[in-house]
Assembly symmetry: C2
Homo-oligomer: 343 residues x 2
């Protein structure tokens, strides 16, 4: 899922996004609550109509942002209160309120309101956050009344295997349409994240989508998919694009570098996105050097295409029985090399 924080995948129009073959995208409950406010979105007929995106949308619950971005005033079993970073006003978020906001936004998938502990955190703090997340899940399920919207549960537990396992069992005990592993990509070492995925993914119901939140790089996604993860969200392709970096196969190219100044080849000769069909590395280098908006748009567009192409290649390789954790189909030595050139 490309990330559309404020009801827009940054710098890309819905028409352009469609051409990347992106399917589901993500909207941020916390940000959309602050601006324009969920009532404006509801009045517009929901987030799909508001932003002009006909494909599926998932909204996060705001939990992650409350704990990472906001100046907290108070947190207890009832909920969280914090200062609005835009105007300093007081905002309270509870499981019931987070669900109410998400019902107004009207995405296809809503997420349970969770407490995401930072990394590092003591086992006691993570235990508190996990218990609270579990209690809040029950309240979210009770509050959620929108029958055409799925509600996914979130498993916390930090880097503590025992807590993770307990939480996974608790959350899986509810008959929910999907399950997410949260509290990852919060600063923990990559191998800790891989450990969590390897441990928890197999504990989740096989017939329900499994969502690894806030991940990630192509390599991380391949490892996660090999362990049974189905769904990801990440700002990486658009954030890198806005900084002048292109994802080409498994590499990252800084288009600002002088070596691209007179390189008149298409950005990625194996890619069929609008950027690669119509534009050269020299042109993109020129746009980035000139700080032209179009450079950011064209690189973001290509990066999303590269990511979606990678996930499509993984799906194809799984079907064909040539998928593995070190999936790198652009490598001519890879068994799945042929899938890359067909996509």
């Amino acid at each position: 899922m490309p990330v559309g924080t404020l009801g827009t995948v940054k710098g890309i129009s819905p028409t352009q996004l469609q051409e990347t073959d992106a399917q589901m995208i993500l909207g941020n409950t916390f940000h959309l609550h602050l601006q324009p406010g969920e009532l404006i979105v509801q009045e517009a007929g929901g987030l799909h109509k508001f932003m002009g995106w006909n494909g599926p949308i998932l909204t996060d619950s705001g939990g992650f942002q409350v704990f990472s971005l906001a100046k907290l005033n108070k947190i207890d079993d009832h909920g969280v209160s914090f200062r609005n970073p835009r105007d300093g006003s007081h905002i309270e978020l509870t499981p019931e309120r987070a669900i109410e906001i998400q019902m107004c936004l009207g995405a296809d998938v809503a997420m349970a309101f969770d407490q995401c502990p930072p990394y590092p955190a003591t086992e006691n703090d993570v235990l508190d956050a996990s218990r609270r997340t579990n209690n809040w899940l029950e309240r979210c399920i009770s509050a959620h009344k929108k029958t055409d919207q799925a509600l996914f549960g979130i498993i916390q537990g930090g880097c503590f295997a025992k807590l993770r396992e307990e939480n996974a069992k608790f959350v899986s005990s509810f008959d929910l349409p999907g399950f997410a592993i949260g509290g990852v990509s919060v600063g923990e070492p990559t191998n800790e994240m891989h450990k969590i995925v390897r441990q928890i993914a197999p504990l989740l119901p096989e017939n329900r989508p499994r969502y690894l939140m806030g991940i990630g790089t192509l390599q991380e996604m391949a490892i996660a998919v090999a362990n049974g993860i189905d769904l990801f969200d990440c700002v990486l392709p658009t954030r890198l694009g806005r900084h002048g970096t292109a994802l080409v196969g498994g590499e990252r190219w800084n288009l600002r570098n002088a070596c691209f100044r007179n390189d008149h080849k298409p950005l990625d000769q194996t890619c069929s996105c609008e950027t690669c069909k119509n534009h050269t590395r020299a042109y993109l280098h020129h746009l980035i050097r000139s700080e032209e908006l179009l450079g950011l748009t064209l690189l973001s567009l290509h990066n999303i295409t590269n990511l979606i192409r990678f996930t499509s290649a993984m799906r194809q390789a799984i079907i064909e029985g040539c998928f593995s954790e070190d999936f790198a189909p652009w490598d001519s030595a890879s068994k799945a090399h042929h899938t890359w050139y067909r996509l």
Copy 2:
């Protein structure tokens, strides 16, 4: 002609630009010489290939920018020398050099190198600039060797009717494929500009396109067309778009205004551009308020569409015999009202 200063109409991809029905666009010789340099563009196969625009392109000569943007060191009959605003280095521009650069850029139309006097200026200063522009035109014609590129002459003369007339006669005495009125939109009152257009346009060859440089608003274009002008360039639609302003019919709407916060109608209900087909005023208001790149792109896209639609409506009204200087087809009292709704 939408303006693509640095080889990009700001914020809009060539694919999006095509959908506005724009035909010819403008590139800036001065800016492209500084970055990326005309040799890079030539290596790429010319400006069309470099920027991925298949339609016609006109490049200005750099004269206007040299006199308005650069720190001049010296100006004499030979040419101009100035400091590169990017790195302080010394650059010399002569008629021969300006033509050489434009031949490298390879646009469909090149412009003669002219001296554009500021407003106000004394009659003596304008006389000097006019004589120099005329001498430079002869040198440009001699230097121009690219047979698949048209060279247009430029008429200067400031706000002095006698000088304008002399210049128009001199420039028209050459069998050039097109003629431009320069030295307008440099700060003179609008009625002075209209006087120049009314006086000079009828003096130019009837069977050659007449180009009014740096104009303008819809009203100014209608007056100019009524007096026989065919071609315009203006940064207005994209500059307004980047500042959150939409051209709707003959009005300018600041989308930042609170009145649009919950206005869920399409931006312009009579327009069929991507922005108006897919997005509401409330969404655009939200994007502008959130400083999202997409807001600037969508407004620029609509503004260019509005401008091109206006010029198409003028053409249609001329054919149907219902065109006049006060052309405002969005007005239901206008005789040409029906043309607006068909376009």
